[in-house]
Subunit: 149 residues, 2 copies
DNA sequence: AGTCAATTAGGAACCATTCCGCATTACCAT
DNA sequence: ATGGTAATGCGGAATGGTTCCTAATTGACT
C-alpha cells in the first residue's frame, strides 16, 4: 500500500481536504512516471510544465512540500545536490550514485532494530534515513577507474 | 583508531603535506572540545574565533572541507539545518533530535551487510549515512506532547 | 451559479556555502 | 636564522536551491 499511484494520491488528497488541481495532477504524474529517478524539484518543474503550461516553480515546491508533509511522498534532503522526492515509503536503503546521481532503492532484509535503539538510548524515532553512497553498476562499467571525476 | 584527538589530526595534516596553522588548530580544538555536539560551521566559527582573533568564516569552511576531504572528519550534510561535522568515523547511526538538533551516536550492533548489497545490486559503496530522526530523551521529558511546534 | 478557503504565479528574500583576488604565512632547504 | 614558495587566510561578492509574500484565481461544495 506504500506504492505510489496517481489514484491513491488523489484519494489521499481528497481525504485530507486538499484540492486536486491541474498543477498538482501534472506534478503527481511526473512523480509517478519518473519514480525510479527520485527526481528533484527542478526536474519535476521542467517536466510538469510540459503538461500544464504556466506552472510556476513555487507551486512545485509548495505541492511537493504539501505531499511530503502529509506523508504521501518523502523528501530526501541534500546539501550539495538538490532535494529529491520518492514515493516508496517502505523502509529501504537508498543507493546514491556519486557519478550519475541516480538513486536506487534497496529493500533491507533485516534492518537495524529500532525498538532496541529506543530502549537503549531513550530516543524516540519518527523517521529514518539510510543511504549508501558509491557508484552504480552502469557507472562502474563505463570506465575502468571510478575515482576520477 | 577512529577517535579524534588533536595530536592525531595534526599528525595527519603533516603526513599529507598540509600546513598546521593557528586557525586550523583553533578549529580542531573546537571540534574536539565539542565532539558530542556534532557542531556546524557557524558554531565552530564562533568558538574558534575566541581562540584565534580575526578568524574568518571562509577559513572555517575551507578547513572543515579540507579535513573532510582527507577523511579526517566527516561532513554530515543537511538542507534545512546547517551541515554538521563529526570525528567519529566508525560505522554508527546518528540519532538526530528534531527539537534540539542534538546529534547522538549510536553504535550499530549488526549493521546491514554492505557486501551483500554490492553483490545483489552491483553497487559499489564508498560511504554510508545512517540517520534516525526523532526526539531525544531530554526533549521527550520536557513536555508531554512532542508533536507540536 | 455563488461562496470561501485553498491554491497559484511571480518575484523578492533568505542563507548556508562557495568563489575570487590578493595579502600573509608555515614549511623546507640552504 | 634566512629566504623562497606554495599553501593558506581574509573579506566580500556571488551562487543557487528553497522559502516567503501578496494579489489574483480556482476547486469543491451547496
Amino acid at each position: 500500500m506504500t506504492e505510489i499511484t496517481k489514484e491513491s494520491i488523489i484519494k489521499q488528497l481528497k481525504e485530507r481536504g486538499l484540492k486536486v488541481t491541474p498543477q498538482r495532477l501534472a506534478i503527481i504524474e511526473v512523480l509517478i512516471e519518473h519514480r525510479q529517478l527520485h527526481p528533484g524539484a527542478r526536474f519535476v518543474y521542467e517536466e510538469a510544465k510540459k503538461k500544464k503550461r504556466g506552472l510556476s516553480l513555487s507551486t512545485v515546491y509548495a505541492t511537493l512540500g504539501e505531499l511530503s508533509r502529509h506523508g504521501i511522498i518523502k523528501t530526501l534532503q541534500f546539501d550539495q545536490i538538490e532535494n529529491r522526492y520518492e514515493g516508496n515509503l517502505e523502509q529501504h536503503i537508498n543507493l546514491i550514485c556519486e557519478k550519475c546521481k541516480k538513486i536506487l532503492d534497496y529493500k533491507v532484509p533485516n534492518a537495524v532494530d529500532q525498538r532496541r535503539v529506543a530502549k537503549k538510548t531513550g530516543f524516540s524515532i519518527t523517521d529514518t534515513r539510510l543511504e549508501y553512497y558509491g557508484y552504480c553498476r552502469e557507472c562502474l562499467g563505463e570506465e575502468g577507474s571510478k575515482g576520477g571525476e
